[in-house]
């Protein structure tokens, strides 16, 4: 069933209004399919009915569900692989050297979705950096979607989700079967914390991070918003801290004060020591 263009626009505008995420005009099919699935979840007859309710009732909870439905993306473990290799071979060792005296490390997964990215980091640190077991680790994951954050906190994943990019050795080492799915082990779960955060709203107080992962989320924002978020991210990094973006994304020309550094096939951005 095709949604009327004005209904599609309504959804696109609502999403932009609340989250600054831009859904282009070509996203008709995406809006239809996601809202139809949401209708099914809610026991409503159709996508049209969901939108009619939104317009009629001004229901904040329903609005939140719609935004969640439109902004959730598929995610995988160790996504793209190479950035994690860069973390392992260069970025973490450098951070450990820098922090040798205070023996603490802080990493933020800033569009963490259902948690795979942050848990991947936690597993990598546990398996490749045993020295860190006596350090203070602050591993933080945030996302605009409450539903995604709750799922991340649960540490529960379906078989289909587990298949996505998780090395078999990690599956064996860090997960247990839980019903028809899998649960990440408590010792890894206890190393991380998740919270809801809308990148365009004021950020809560947070530590300064050695690494910020902001991957594949800037593409959904317009230029001004991207600039603003990158500026804030820079302030949230320690001196010499590193920003990691998604494969096709770049900071250049948007914000000063980042120095691109290529490690293998990955380009990351160092907070420039000269320009604070």
């Amino acid at each position: 069933m095709t949604l009327a263009p004005k209904d599609v626009s309504y959804v696109r505008e609502l999403v932009f209004d609340r989250s600054a995420i831009v859904l282009g005009e070509d996203k008709q099919y995406l809006v239809e399919s996601r809202i139809t699935m949401l209708a099914r979840d809610l026991g409503l007859g159709s996508a049209e009915e969901v939108i009619a309710r939104l317009k009629r009732d001004g229901d904040r909870t329903l609005e939140e569900r719609v935004i969640e439905a439109m902004t959730t993306n598929e995610t995988s473990w160790f996504r793209d692989v190479h950035p994690f290799n860069a973390l392992k071979s260069v970025i973490i060792p450098e951070a450990m050297e820098r922090n040798a005296a205070k023996r603490s490390l802080a990493i933020w997964s800033a569009a963490c979705s259902t948690g795979q990215e942050l848990y991947s980091v936690a597993m990598m640190l546990d398996s490749d950096f045993p020295e860190l077991s006596s350090w203070k680790l602050d591993l933080v994951g945030t996302d605009i979607s409450r539903k995604a954050v709750e799922k991340a906190q649960s540490g529960l994943f379906t078989g289909l989700e587990i298949n996505r990019g998780l090395p078999a050795t990690m599956l064996v080492r860090y997960f247990v079967r839980d019903g028809s799915g899998y649960r990440i082990r408590d010792d890894i779960r206890n190393k991380v914390r998740f919270g809801v955060l809308n990148l365009i709203e004021p950020w809560p107080p947070m530590p300064l991070f050695d690494v910020i992962l902001l991957r594949n989320v800037l593409i959904y924002f317009d230029m001004d918003t991207r600039r603003r978020i990158l500026g804030l991210a820079k302030q949230q990094l320690v001196q010499g801290g590193v920003l990691i973006l998604g494969g096709a994304e770049s900071v250049l020309s948007l914000v000063d004060g980042f120095v691109p550094v290529t490690i293998g096939t990955t380009t990351v951005y160092h907070k420039d020591k000269e320009n604070v």
Binding site: M37, R40, T158, G159, L160, R177, G179, S180, G181
Partner: protein, 158 residues
Amino acid sequence: MATLLTADMISEITLETWEAILAEAGSRLSPKASRPGEEITGYVDIAGAWRGNIGLTCSLAAAKHAASIMFDMDESELGQSEINDAIGELVNIVGGNIKALLPAPAEMSIPHVIEGSPVDDPDRPPPLREVRFEWLDELVIVRVWMMPTDEESSDEDA
């Protein structure tokens, strides 16, 4: 042992299999819904820490549709052997994931596919679990039977 395997778990496994392989989400039917068309069934047999079978039953139309997706062939080009192979692989996948929830170790047979439905067989006892799904207006049913193991059946009459 039966409490290890809930209808919800069977449902999740089957829906995930449909979503991944057939690219078209099924949706779970309520247990009371009834629709015609139990025309083909794939079975796998399990033996080991527990004994039983798992059966996947659907209409011939649904089976053809599944086979056409899995083989990427037009329905008119499909023969019985392709249809049977498709249903066999679907019950292999659903069955294997169900087996993973139940006591180990247990071996699963290669699938065998027959015409008709378990309900046609008067000698077959009712299943321990039965979960019904709707897929494109067709009915798909997953059933799990558990037989007593050798120690247990020595107390029973044949």
